[in-house]
Symmetry: C2
Amino acid sequence: MKVLFFLAAIVSVAFTEAVPFESDLLLPHSGSVNGRNCLSWRLAVETNNVRDWDVVPADCAYYVADYMSGSQYPADCNYVTSAAYKHARSIQLKEDGKDVWVFDIGESSLSNLPYYSRSDVLFGSKEYNSTAKKEWELQGKAPALLATLKLYKKLLNRGYKIVFISGKSESVRNVTETNLKNVGYYTWEKLVLRQPSERGTTLAVYKSKKRGELVNQGYRIIGNIGDQWSDLSGDYAGNRTFKLPNPMFYAA
Amino acid sequence: MKVLFFLAAIVSVAFTEAVPFESDLLLPHSGSVNGRNCLSWRLAVETNNVRDWDVVPADCAYYVADYMSGSQYPADCNYVTSAAYKHARSIQLKEDGKDVWVFDIGESSLSNLPYYSRSDVLFGSKEYNSTAKKEWELQGKAPALLATLKLYKKLLNRGYKIVFISGKSESVRNVTETNLKNVGYYTWEKLVLRQPSERGTTLAVYKSKKRGELVNQGYRIIGNIGDQWSDLSGDYAGNRTFKLPNPMFYAA
């Protein structure tokens, strides 16, 4: 009977207390707001059915906030990196040290979630602010995306060479390298950043070109992991590609 | 206070009553059973991170049953076909009648859900039974996948030519054509089925070849919609591809 009263009390509180803005972010959101089914939107984004989107639809902002802040996003990431490692294990590496795994950086190896959680960013539902984003990145304080860091360590143990290919500018090399090392990515074969001359193209074109250079240098791309389809499409995509979830922004 | 007791009573019943097998299918399943996160599994499948899987993992059978039988699957399909139509509208068609949209058939234009709902199939969680599946298909009773039928009609209205490309055998042409017509797909430019000589390859290779033949005949593939990545990958994939959800089986 005590238990029943306790449960009833919880229910009662949940139904009567006014919910302030901040904790609203922590409540479950069904994903269907104002007629838009945010689960469907997210699936469409993740499967590359919806492209070239600008910001998270306003009516899905809290849904995305819940997803990114809760247990499902890390669980989804872990599932992807487990599948990636299963592929990695299935390959018999050659002795020449040319078997590589390509990693994207932002939202793949490093997480910008502390930035995207800010109220002026609200998980990608506010208009993109390149100045604010750059300021955050220049602090070099991005934590590791834990699932990816775990994969990275296991791949190194197995003998894979790691190649980071990022759309970030060469001008942020120092802070990026320091950030990577600080959170546990302590070694790599190459860390490829975008040169001023490579600014004019889409990420997909730039990354294909960089992977092509790797292949021309004799490397074999066994795996390629990123949060954007532009990390994974085009030429020399790799033996297998792995798409990490990211419902916060789109990069062509 | 009455309300509190009522709520407490519900909670009490929920915790004490044994749940029979049949209605278990109708209860919400969190997606996390025996440690496997079925939401993560489904996302990994839909994004092509997990490939070559045999059957739905046993511990996700009820989760997939819920998803396919509930409102989320049709909502997800509608979201995809809406995105497809948005692309269709963005294209200025030529006057030569060579702008085509490629449709897959099974789980794309026609739904085999009545078959997959059977207790001996259980949404793809039981071992694949090619005899039983063929028996079902030979009845020609598959309903339309409603979201796709709606897209089909809108594309026809806009002047697109429809080309069905299916992995089904040429031997089932009559029943397939009758089934398609019975549920509303009343016209098409071509209905491409697999010839005996084309049996040896994967679906992806066969479909790429068939799309190549279309392109060589002067057709322009503006869109391509299917439930398998093998419908959408490889050469001549189309100007844009659209992946419908299907967590029930994998076809390479």
